[in-house]
Structure formats: structure tokens, C-alpha cells
Symmetry: C2
Amino acid sequence: MNHVALEKKILSENDRIATTLRDRFAEHGTLCLNLISSPGSGKTTLLERTLQSFSPDRHVAVLAGDIQTENDANRLKRFGFPVKQITTGGTCHLDARMIERHLADWPLDQIDLLFIENVGNLVCPASYDLGEAAKIVLLSVTEGEDKPLKYPSVFFKSELVIITKTDLLPYVPFDQQAAEENIRRVHPGVEILPLSCSTGAGVDRWLHWLEKQAVKTEPLVSK
Amino acid sequence: MNHVALEKKILSENDRIATTLRDRFAEHGTLCLNLISSPGSGKTTLLERTLQSFSPDRHVAVLAGDIQTENDANRLKRFGFPVKQITTGGTCHLDARMIERHLADWPLDQIDLLFIENVGNLVCPASYDLGEAAKIVLLSVTEGEDKPLKYPSVFFKSELVIITKTDLLPYVPFDQQAAEENIRRVHPGVEILPLSCSTGAGVDRWLHWLEKQAVKTEPLVSK
């Protein structure tokens, strides 16, 4: 089997497991969101801000992916919600089997909202369906407005683009209008949400977006 | 053949081509440097600043890798040195065969210094030897001091770590001392060079480092 054929086989096996995950999420009314970005674009910081805003009786959980270290899980655990680190040990993305394995002892009917924080990588994670309801891509203003054109796949596949670290706009040569045009060239009509976890600007819109998605999943809920 | 076996085969085929490239670089006295970082850490900006500082009779060339767009090559061409874009069309890294192919019509004896700007990705490019004399990893202060621990492979394999965008230090929660400790935990003794292409701070040290490497290769030069 050549490389391309093997890659197809791996992806189709991944898709098969992702489909069973998606069915399980729907059955239990779990909204699963897959957060993807470059290293250091602010996925963990956004999740910190998000968990902090939730009341303790909310049924939220996080799976945090990294190649090495349990740092992200440790940062997120202090909010009291269930958090697990997935350490890939070298693999550049999360795959559906890793998600399936790490969910094995979590009762999904007690999780209404599941965040998956992918490995920091704007390329490979876009190819692996994790059974999520939506992919969300984060782009920080320090990365430059050309990135959506250079890494189109993840921007095309995401339901929401979050432009992070907008508090740094005065200090970096980031043309936000050009960035939004580039995003829409790759994915016309996609929702774009600029925010700063430092100042809090835009965070309310993000929390509102989350509530909207939670409502949307209700027709899928069987319980 | 399973996935692991195929990956080994691909990497060993890559290593074989990289070895012939390395021999050719040595034969022609070409110093080849492979720049790796996350998307938007400042590889192209550093190369702009570097090319700008060179006199026009210097024998320098650049191969710039990206998944899509010729943006980087266009930015770099205006300095008058030979520049080629390698568009991978989805592949998350450059490999030795791409380098070999794009060098086919370049007379190496007219290139003393060859920069390879890899695809923006802190994971996969670390696995692919391109025949370079050294890998150089860039880490911007906006990415956070924990990244060397999370992405150890590229930091371990690089001869130089450049901490970029130090002009943003007053505005971001980046602990430079902790970053340097983390880098040295992964790669004891590696050279670390903080700089800012906006203010120019540290750029002289980088140019000096380059000259030092060029001198080092002289014993290898056969011409």
C-alpha cells in the first residue's frame, strides 16, 4: 500500500469512529466543540476564561491535547470541572480513537458541553474528524492577516473563527479588515468573532455564541 | 505494511535524499539553514531583515515553503536575491525531495548561503532532514514560555533558538527566563538569541551568528 492509500485508510477509519462518537454525543445531548489553532494562539486561555464564567453546577468537561506535558489540564482543572489531558507523545493531532478512549469512563449524559482542545497545529488537526458538532479555529492578531490563505483547510472546515489577543492590535501590524476578507475568501459567510481574554472585550459574544449552539443541539437530544 | 512501518520507510527514504543534499552542499560550500516555527512567529520577517542587510553581490538564496500562496516568496524577492516558493498543497512540512527538485536548476556553486523557510508548523517539520547544516527554531514571545516543553523535538534538534518579537514583551505575559530554562531543559547548552525585527534589537547578534557559521563551513569547502 502506498502512502496516499494508507493515509486514506487511516482517515476513513478515523471517520468511522468519529461517526459513532457523533451519534453518542447526539444521543446524550452533548455539544462537542473542537478548538484548533497554532501553538500559543490562546486556546487554553479562552477555555480558562470560559470555565471561569460558568456556574459550578454546569455540566462541562474538557479534553486537552498536547504532544508533551499536562500543563493545560492543570491550568483548567482549577475551575472544578472534569478535565483530562491527552498526551499524544509525538503525534501532531488528536484523532477520534484518542477521544473515544479518553471518554470511556466519563458518563456522557452528565456532560452537556465538551470542549476538545486540539494539539497546537494549524495544519494536521483539520484532517481528523473527532465527532464534534463544530470545529472552531483561533487566529491571534500576532500571527498576521495572511494565515487564512496559507492554511485554508482549517478555516474552511470551521464554523467559527475567533480572532484572539485583540488587546495587542495597537502593537502589531495586523490588518483586521484584510484578515476578515481573507477568512471569507476561504469560507464565505463564516462567523468571525474578535476577542481579548486580557481585557474581556468580545468574551460576552463568545459566551452568547456558545449558548446559541447549546440551544441548537436540543432537537438532536433524545433524553 | 502498517502505519508505523510506512512512516519509517518514508523517513528513511527522506534521510537518504537529505544525505545526498548535505554532500552536495558541502562540496559546493553552501551553508544551508532550515528555519522552523509556528505560523506567524516571524520567519519571513527575519529573512526580510537579513536579506536587507546583505550587500547585493552576496550569494544568498531562499526556498520558502507554504501550503498555499506565493506570499512569502513575493515578500522576499524584492531584495534581488534568488527566491523560490515551494507550495506543498496540503503537506504539513517540507521534505528532502521537494528541496532536491527546487534546487535542480540552481547552480549551487553560486550559492554560499541557502535559507529554507519551512511550513509554519512546530511539529512535523522537525522529523524531516533537509540536508541542512543546522535547524533554527523561532519562538515568538506571544506564544508563551511553555512551548519548548510541549514541542520538545524541534527545540532538541535545533542548533539555535531565536526568541522573536521581543518588542512585544511589555504587552504579553511572557517569562523570558522561564522560557530559556524550558529551552535548556529540552536542549542543554543550545544557543538562544532574543531579537526584535521591529526595533532591530538583537539583529546584529543574529547576523554575527550567521557569519560565524559561514566561517565554520570553510573547512568543508572544496572550491
